[in-house]
């Protein structure tokens, strides 16, 4: 409880509560972090659910072998060191000694192998893709894990952050129905914080894990994640100090400017490098007129992406140049540029024969609004006005999450908006959107727009197995140029979500996954 809240309570007439004041004196040791979780996660076991709130909260409870710095270089996690064989096929990890689960049982190489090769293979689609490349996983001793790959896979070392490969206790999950395991409620991990209480609809209360293997960590005594579904209420909570930290879209973009001015708050957009959320308007390449490259290019000309950034995202983004985010490895900005030009767009449309009809309209196109909040809604409204300038009617179609997922997954849409994480390496987060082998009906976040180019397929495949970074860069540069010319989707922005935290907090953002991190090093003065 901070002073502001304390004062408020006094003013409002409730009796003073003699608590928290003495505890705050301990400086770097101790203290409570109040923050927000939005929306409320369905479960805290990150191995079973990979929605963003689950990962944010579960990141404090579950750990993996590695962490990644802001430059996406690996750093020690539960593995204190690692080694890659010259042929790029064998990865050996040395674990820290004395790691224990929250139930007191030791964490060993067996738990790592069980988690990666058994449990995650079934429950974690992304991990499944990664560990399917493993030929064998062995534990020569309790503190050593060896993965042998079937063929080289350059980004394999990028698969061990706590969101991609969380380690769960084998003794709890082995031979059980993972999803229905009653211990899921207890969320037993190895992280610096453990679950104390979860009052659904209200808050999740984490407290320090006293048996944590790193000396002096964690510094905080407890973290409270409050569920506040209403955006205005979240802003108010940050403003009056009820919470000391917000992340992702907790604070609406239009409020960012206001909070930047609030003296007690620190502002950063760092800590999203691993995700590098990349956004585009998805054009179903199978459906006319989106099946015509000229139409897709016209769309690129039609969207005033600076205005889009300013009006809809209030400047909290960077205009994207192509398929790879500038924050991701192997980015190359040296590609064709599409300036905002209604005339160029009209010329392209005329050229392809999409001229205004008897009613003055060139076409009527349906736009499926992703049901993930008001910003998506406004983005659709923005696009509708953009299309109106060349006399194309964009009809917004509302839907729910299930409807959106099914329609997009089954290619039953014309235009929609999408946002994908880049996951640090094009082979992990970018290729999936463009390679023809990933045109999979019914699967979301695959190549749903149905773009297919054998050359692009080849370049992505070669780049994935190449072990030399220079070689990879060359291949990825090529693929970026081709894609930007062909416009399989209309890239718009690299979103830069804000993180605000109270200046009393230190070491909040230290790695490429920002507030998803374990928070063992975070202190509060």
């Amino acid at each position: 409880m901070n002073r502001r809240e304390f004062t408020m309570a006094m003013l409002a007439g409730t009796a003073a509560i003699p608590l928290g004041i003495t505890r705050a004196v301990g400086q770097t040791k101790g203290g409570t972090l109040n923050t927000i979780i939005q929306p409320e996660p369905p479960i805290l076991v990150t191995a079973l659910n990979q929605q963003q709130p689950t990962l944010t909260l579960g990141g404090k409870i579950y750990e993996s072998l590695l962490k990644y710095g802001p430059d996406l270089k690996p750093m020690p996690g539960m593995a204190q060191s690692w080694d890659i064989s010259a042929d790029g096929l064998t990865y050996t990890f040395k674990l820290f000694p004395n790691i224990t689960f929250h139930d007191g049982k030791p964490m060993t190489a067996d738990d790592v192998i069980f988690s990666c090769m058994k449990l995650l293979m079934e429950t974690h689609p992304r991990a499944r893709g990664n560990f399917a490349r493993v030929e064998s996983a062995t534990a020569p001793d309790p503190l050593t894990v060896v993965f042998k790959l079937k063929q080289p896979f350059a980004p394999f070392l990028g698969c061990f952050d706590c969101t991609s490969a969380p380690i769960v206790p084998k003794h709890i999950y082995e031979n059980t129905d993972y999803r229905k395991n009653p211990m899921n409620d207890k969320a037993i991990g190895t992280g610096p914080f453990k679950l104390k209480e979860w009052v659904r609809g209200s808050h999740v209360h984490l407290v320090r894990h006293d048996g944590y293997y790193l000396k002096d960590q964690p510094h905080l005594d407890e973290i409270i994640y409050r569920v506040i579904p209403d955006a205005a209420s979240r802003a108010l909570a940050l403003e009056n100090g009820t919470v000391q930290m917000v992340q992702w879209s907790d604070i609406e973009f239009f409020d960012v400017e206001r909070f930047k001015k609030q003296a007690n708050l620190e502002y950063t957009t760092k800590g999203y490098e691993y995700f590098a959320p990349h956004q585009w308007f998805e054009l179903n390449n199978r459906v006319a007129p989106m099946n015509d490259k000229r139409f897709r290019q016209a769309v690129m000309h039609l969207i005033d992406r600076d205005a889009f950034n300013k009006r809809v995202y209030f400047g909290n983004a960077k205009v994207a140049t192509g398929p790879i985010s500038s924050k991701t490895r192997f980015y190359d900005g040296n590609v064709k540029r599409y300036d905002y030009s209604v005339d160029k767009a009209k010329a392209l449309l005329d050229e392809m024969g999409l001229k205004p009809g008897a009613n003055g309209k060139r076409a009527e196109i349906k736009y499926l609004v992703p049901p993930y909040g008001e910003v998506y809604q406004r983005a659709g409204e923005f696009l509708r006005q953009s299309f109106a300038r060349v006399n194309i009617d964009l009809v917004l179609v509302g839907t729910d999450m299930a409807g959106w997922a099914e329609k997009v997954g089954n290619w039953d849409y014309e235009i929609t908006q999408n946002l994908l994480y880049q996951l640090g390496d094009p082979a992990l987060g970018v290729a999936r959107t463009y390679i023809s082998s990933n045109i999979k009906k019914g699967i979301l976040f695959s190549n749903t727009q149905g773009y297919s180019n054998p050359e692009v397929d080849r370049l992505f495949e070669e780049a994935a197995v190449a072990t030399d970074d220079a070689k990879r860069q060359e291949l990825y540069t090529k693929v970026q140029q081709i894609l930007v010319e062909e416009v399989p989707v209309a890239w718009t922005l690299e979103l830069e979500y804000p993180i605000f935290y109270d200046k009393a907090l230190k070491n909040v953002v230290t790695t490429a996954i920002g507030t998803h991190e374990t928070f063992g090093v975070v202190t509060k003065s």
């Binding site: 929306p39 990979q50 229905k180 108010l236 997922a405 999979k440």
Partner: protein, 330 residues
């Protein structure tokens, strides 16, 4: 014992009725929800980034989504009758647990609003009805008409704007101050403070309804012959009001109040969204957006049962007020 037998019969009839209604609603809900487009397995798997037909198939298998609807319905009904409302595969919790966690907050909110609306509404309405035609009555009528025309969620927003944002008097959201040790008394006060605005927003429209109803009911009763009798007996104004008018005037209000119970529970959805109240309303909304079938089915069933019980409660109050409903003719 004739009385005991009659009571037993009545209780049995009631139980049969309740079960019948529950089964009907369960079937109705089931059909409604399954009519929805969208495959829950798809959403489940899709969220995490990439997916795999095998996982989808597993999910369908796990939740019986691949069986014919009639089988799913049969299973559903059988479960409902054993208080098993299914398992939420999105929330990883039994539905009953989920609902159980949220129901108290919703009940607290709706019942408080209900009682407040009833007590304050009828009091104000009675006052206005007794002073029919006066300035007070006119002011009251205008106010109640305004309240009646106000969207609940907007009223909630305006309250937040005034009392939280501008004045800073009341907490704008939530159910209680978290992570502070308090004496039970302080805790009650704290929850009370959090409740003020949601309860007022939710109660406002019903307060207006009951008040207007009570007003016309009082006027209606004041024209009844037995009021003339009371005057002819020499009773003074207040004695007539308390002894003869109020109870009679309450009868139609209580009837309507029972019928409004469902609407009140519905209104809680919006209010809980505005005030981040950790109740069933919010859960409903999230469940609809996520197509969390078992949760939706459960919520609808439970809320309908709540409404049935509220109806029953008002029915009992009604019987308490009006002896004609309970005693047979002599």
């Amino acid at each position: 014992m004739k009385g005991a037998a009659a009571f037993g019969l009545a209780a049995a009839t009631l139980l049969v009725r309740l079960v019948a209604v529950i089964l009907l609603i369960a079937t109705f809900n089931f059909i409604l929800v399954r009519a929805a487009p969208g495959d829950p397995a798809q959403v489940m798997a899709g969220q995490s980034g990439a997916s795999d037909p095998k996982i989808l198939a597993d999910l369908r298998q796990e939740y019986g989504l691949d069986k014919p609807y009639i089988v799913q319905l049969g299973t559903h009904l059988a479960r409902v009758m054993t208080f098993d409302l299914g398992y939420s595969y999105r929330q990883r919790q039994p539905v009953l647990t989920l609902i159980g966690e949220r129901l108290p907050a919703t009940l607290l909110l709706t019942l408080t609003a209900f009682v407040l609306a009833l007590v304050v509404g009828t009091t104000l309405g009675a006052a206005a009805g007794l002073a029919a035609g006066s300035v007070v009555d006119t002011i009251f009528t205008v106010l109640s008409l305004l309240l009646y025309a106000t969207p609940v969620f907007w009223l909630g927003l305006m309250l937040v704007l005034v009392f939280s944002v501008t004045l800073g008097w009341l907490p704008p959201f939530g159910y209680e101050t978290i992570n502070v040790q308090m004496t039970p008394f302080q805790k009650v006060l704290d929850i009370g403070r959090h409740m003020i605005m949601p309860v007022i927003s939710l109660a406002a429209i019903y307060l207006a309804i009951y008040a207007r109803l009570m007003r016309s009911s009082i006027i209606e009763v004041s024209h009844q012959d037995f009021i003339k009798t009371a005057r002819a007996k020499g009773l003074a104004g207040p004695q007539i009001v308390v002894g003869h008018m109020l109870r009679n005037a309450l009868v139609p209000v209580v009837t309507v109040a029972g019928m409004q119970a469902g609407a009140l529970v519905g209104g809680a959805v919006v209010i809980e969204t505005v005030f981040a109240w950790p109740g069933l309303g919010r859960l409903t909304f999230d469940a609809v957006l996520q197509r969390d079938y078992p949760v939706l089915l459960g919520i609808f069933l439970i809320l309908s049962v709540v409404v049935i019980f509220l109806n029953l409660a008002t029915d009992l109050v009604y019987r308490l007020i009006d002896p004609r409903m309970t005693t047979g003719a002599a």
